[in-house]
Structures are given as C-alpha cells and as structure tokens.
C-alpha cells in the first residue's frame, strides 16, 4: 500500500531516526519524492530534530568531571580494600609480605579481627627510613607554595625532574617543603595534610630522594603486583617507601595506620604512573 500524506506523521520520527524497515522507508521515500508539502515537512522536522539534539548536548563540565573521576577512583580503592579484607578473612592473602614474618602475619590478622593497630616492628630499620621518621618531628619551618612552585623548587634542589605526589582523597593538600638530607643524600621533604578513611586529617610527610642503591634493609617488603613497597612502623609512625622506574625514592611517613598509609601511597598518581610503565 502506497504511503500517503496522512501516514507520514506517524512514520516520520522513526524515518528520521533511520529505524524504519527498508520497505516502509522506501515507500516514504517514494511519497516524499512526489509530494512537495511532505518533502518540506520532512526537511523542517529533520532540521528541528538536529537543532534540538545539538541543544540537548550536555555542557562541558571539566572541573566537575575531574572531581567525579577522583571520587570514583577513590570509591574503587575502597571496593578493592574491602575485597582484600574479605579475602584475608577467608585466609587468602592479597598483599603478600615479601619475607612474611609471623609477627607481621599476626598483626594483619589482628587488624581484621579487631581495631588493634598492627605494629610490625622490624629489627633494624634502614638508616634512611629512621631518619625520615625523625625528620617528621623536626621543627624547622616549611616553605609554602603551590604544588607547581614546590615542584620547581624541589627540582632545582635535587637537580632531577621531580613529581610531587598527589593524594587521592578529597581535602588532601600540600602545605610546603623543606630541603633536607637523608642518609647523606640530598632530599626534599614535602608536608601534606591528608584525610584518612574516617575523614580526620593527618600530617603525611614525603621524602623525595635519589634512591639508586639506597639501603632499605630492615623494612618489610610488600609486593603489589610487580611493584614493591617497603613498609615499617617505628615508634608509632608508619612509613612506606617505594622506588619508581627511574630509581627515584618516595618515603611516606604518617601517624596513621600502616595499612591505611600503604593504601594512600598506592592511590597516588606517581605510584600509578610508575606501575603502568612497569606493567607494559
């Protein structure tokens, strides 16, 4: 049956969406070819649809999207962490302490079972780590600046390309930096405020140091995939150290729980980048 003017109204939206079956489509095409009024109607309606679609395109919201991206990734971290705890509860370790000591294993189990803070005390900490912990409580003032300014200053001081780590949780901020020395090497201390998973702020210090050949014996080694973290707890201060693919070292220390700090480190941008490169 040939398509007539009165049919066009019903077929038009589907026709314009390109969803008519070939038979109906052809019959609309035929009718429109013969009928100037319907041709105009199709043209006008197509043009309207095109314009309305353009107007419906959501506005670009880069800032909101960036914030959302961070939020989602932090949410994924939480999911991973939860999954890890569930696995640990069921006896499958997710994070494997490299040379797993019994004390550490016990501490990890305690962490799950109760709120007791795990204190895996390694016998003799590497001097760099010990100094980093001591450095936390030094009272020389920090030099303040934006993350960019701090990066530039640290770079000049260390004479190496430097990335200041960014922490994932919202509300994290870089407060400033100090030039320091660690185990006889130039180092830059960065001071951050970072909220833990319950939202209370902790000071986190990060020592940036050329770590090629740096002695980290004494700290415990955790493996996350192909990446290694050296972790230690000293006098109530947790430290996590890792070397990036260039042999650059980051020593994180904080009074938050070791586990919590390790997750913060794993969530930083520098860790991700280095892990991705390594995995390729």
């Amino acid at each position: 049956m040939a398509t007539q003017c009165k049919d066009i109204e019903a077929l038009l939206p589907t026709y314009l969406d390109g969803e008519l079956d070939p038979h109906d489509r052809l019959s609309v095409d035929h009718h429109v070819a013969d009928c100037a009024e319907c041709r105009e109607r199709v043209r006008a309606e197509a043009s309207y649809l095109q314009q309305v679609r353009a107007l419906l395109v959501p506005p670009a919201m880069p800032a909101e999207l960036a914030r959302l991206d961070q939020r989602v990734r932090a949410g994924l971290d939480d999911e991973d962490r939860r999954a890890m705890q569930v696995r640990r509860r069921t006896g499958v370790a997710w994070v494997l302490p490299g040379g797993a000591s019994l004390a550490a294993a016990a501490a990890l189990v305690m962490f799950v079972v109760s709120e007791v803070r795990p204190v895996p005390v390694a016998p003799a900490e590497a001097p760099a780590v010990r100094q980093a912990v001591r450095d936390r409580i030094n009272d020389s003032p920090v030099r303040v600046g934006s993350p960019q300014e701090v990066s530039v200053a640290a770079q000049q001081y260390l004479r190496k390309p430097v990335r200041t780590p960014q922490f994932r949780p919202q509300g994290s901020s870089l407060r400033g930096w100090q030039p320091r020395e660690l185990d006889g090497r130039d180092a830059v201390l960065l001071l951050y405020d970072v909220p833990d998973s319950r939202g209370s702020l902790h000071q986190v210090t990060v020592h940036l140091i050329d770590a090629s050949g740096l002695d980290l014996r004494g700290s415990e080694r955790w493996k996350i995939g192909s990446t290694e973290l050296w972790v230690a707890s000293l006098g109530g201060v947790s430290t996590v150290t890792y070397k990036d693919q260039y042999g650059f070292g980051y020593v994180f220390s904080s009074d938050m729980e070791l586990e919590e700090l390790a997750w913060l480190v794993v969530g930083t941008d520098v860790f991700h980048r280095s892990r991705e490169l390594r995995d390729q």
């Binding site: 314009q51 914030r67 991206d69 989602v72 499958v92 997710w94």
Partner: protein, 218 residues
Amino acid sequence: MLQPRRKQRRDFEEIALPHLGSLHGAAFRLTRNARDAEDLVQDVMLRAYRFWDSFERDSNCKAWLFKILTNTFINSYQKAKRGREVLNAAVAEQQTTDGVLVHENAVSQRDPEGLLLDHSLSEDVARALADIPADFRLAVVLCDIEGFSYKEIAEIMECPVGTVMSRLHRGRRLLKQSLREYAIAQGVLKEKQGDKGASTPSGESGDMIRLDDYRRSR
C-alpha cells in the same frame, strides 16, 4: 593471588571508566542538577565495579553502563518524585491520545524550526526536558543525546521496541510543546501573528519568531 583483582581493576579503568563523561552528561540531563548527577554516576560506577564479573567482555560496555544508570536512576533517584511522576505520566498519556494530539501535530506542521532560533534556548531545552516524565525523558536522553538505537534502548530500559518508540516520540512531542509554551511566555512566539515585517526564513503562515523581542526578554 593478587593478579585477578588487579587485572579486574585495570580492565575496569580501561573499558568502563572512559564512559564516565557520557554517563555524567546524561545524568546531568536526567537529574538537572550537578550534585545529583555526580552522586548518581558514583553509584553507577561502584555498582558496575561490583558486578564487573557479570559484564560480558565482547559486548557493548557503554550500553551495559547505561542500563545500570537507568535502573539506578529509576530506583533511587526517582522514588521521591514517583507520586508526581505517575500523575504527570498519566496526564501526558492522555494528552497524546486526546484532542491535544491534534494541537501538537498542528504545532509540528507549522514551523518546528522556528522554535529554536537562538542558542540561548539551550537552558530552556534542559528545563523542558526535566519536566517530562522520567521514562519519556530517559528514552529521549538515550536516543537523542547518546545515539543508542531503538534496539539498544529496548535492552537498556528492558522493554519492547514498540514501547521505546512510543516513549521516545511522546517524549519529543512533550518537549516540543514545552518549548512552544516557553517561547510564547517569553513573547518570542505569537500564537496568532499578523504581518509585521518580521522575517522567518521558511516564511508562510507559520509562527513568527521576533528575535529582537526575544533578546530583550533575556
């Protein structure tokens, strides 16, 4: 031991996360509120991550995510408004099958392009979209913003293709009607227009847009 979880995370970041922008935009159009849109998409992504195992790797990830978005939107974000929505939907259904239909068709025949002469109307379009019932709005967002096919929308909304078509077409019709009402309310569009020398490209007896008036009203 660690591998499966890590691989899962990496897959998810590679395959699902790139759709964050689309989801966010669509959510913004659905909720019309940046805060709600963010919360909605956050929910969707975490849900998707939890059910990542059930996603078939060679199927369409965007459609899968939008299905979760649709369900989450309908279930949690619409509940509060449900009562009003049902009423609106009932009225809308009736309007599209009543004499109003004739009226709307009359609108569409006259000068549909004339409703949209200026880009500052985009806020009006967003508002008009927000006013139509959720199911209709979803169909419009999925088709006209995201470009899903009828069949994909049917899978996302878990309904027959025929239902998609009726929701989509009614949704668009309601949208057009709202736009027309805004235009009239702002004095852009006259219901009945004499000849004052204003120019509409398609001319004839259609509704006249007086752009100067329109701009002044802003």
